[in-house]
Symmetry: D2
């Protein structure tokens, strides 16, 4: 079951060409990721402060199928995929709130689990594994 | 009566010093402004496309009374003030969602009404005057 | 021959996890793209105002091989690739200024040439074809 | 003597209204502040990592006198002002590179010196006092 996150496209998300600035599309997807963590009671602030684990993005990709404009109300469908004990991927599909048939943007982020002080890979903690399972899609 | 807008502080809003990056505080206030316009059925996308009027910010100011951290859930109270037929101000107060007593951030933006092609000042349209009245505070 | 663009990593590019925020890596690459257009005397402001052509990004991808920190001085090597008469790609490699051996970040953007009013694909103009040729890499 | 910093206005700095997004004006000023620190051999990354001191902005203000467009080449003149042993201000004036007579944007940030763990005010270190002196303007 995907996690869903809705928000508006704001002026700050657009550029002088009149549509969404491409890198802002990735930022908006990351908001959905943070909301999905919060929905599983994973406290990002605490993770950052404790400095035991970090989940940096090692790869990001985004495809714009249709333009997004200032004021548009969008929904992001987020699904997860465990890759191995130290790595996972998050997939995002953006729709207009009123039309869940037409995908506007597709994106994906790949995250690794590291010790932030030593910057070496470590196993994903149980809380993250549970979150991954909650939003994983069979295919 | 103030307009209220709530959202979370996301990772993209913070910097390596661990708290909100100051200019992002202004962006978040501007989101509240856009939501308040939308709540009065003012269509920012249409305004931008028609190019009859623009409402650029000529002055912005922000005071950080207390730090905001990644993951914090905040509410912005927005109020308006008509300055003259071609200029208005918007005031913002940021609180934690759970604690409306303690102001964390105060901000203000001053906007002028212009013809975007000629970049000269023109009178505010009725829809904006009505929006200003809806959220104006007596004092 | 690649186009080269250097700049510092600023606080606004980082997040509370202490390193560059991933989507900012894409923004920095886009700055290199804009500087390379300017170096070929292509005026982006004029293109946007004339509204005859737009070159939106239809796909972006980025790989973080090593972290970037606040204050780091980086150089981006930009190369181009003509895909067909209406589409091109730009490749980016980010290094520390003092060390051009170790790639820190790789990124790529795919752009299409469109009529911005009708949002249909049109042929790339000569100025863009010349710019593509200037920074194209044989391989 | 002011510190000078030049850069271009990029697409990411603009919004769908066609000019610079107001909060980005503050970000660009902060880049000038970071460059001026670097010019005085103050290492922001080290300051952040050591966590002995932080210099958060408690107040920011910006005035837009004239619009900035995508592609514009600007110069920022930065000057400093010691307020007391725990507080300073930075003033910014933005010009077109080719025209130092006409101020386009004025901005100011107020910073306090704090212990980032306890978040209480502490005295400014000598390196910052020296940097303040280097760019302070008599008036």
């Amino acid at each position: 079951m995907p996690f869903q996150y809705s928000r508006r496209i704001y002026l700050a998300d657009t550029d002088a060409a009149g549509v969404i600035y491409f890198a802002k599309g990735m930022e908006i997807c990351h908001e959905a990721y943070e909301e999905s963590l919060a929905s599983s009671r994973i406290n990002l602030k605490q993770i950052i402060e404790e400095k035991k684990i970090a989940l940096p993005i090692v790869r990001g990709e985004i495809d714009f199928l249709r333009p997004l404009f200032c004021g548009d109300r969008i929904t992001i469908n987020l699904t997860t995929k465990l890759i191995n004990s130290r790595e996972f991927a998050v997939n995002y599909q953006i729709f207009h709130v009123a039309n869940s048939d037409k995908i506007l943007v597709k994106a994906k982020t790949n995250h690794v689990s590291i010790d932030p002080a030593k910057r070496i890979r470590i196993d994903l903690p149980t809380a993250i594994l549970n979150w991954l399972e909650a939003y994983e899609i069979e295919n």
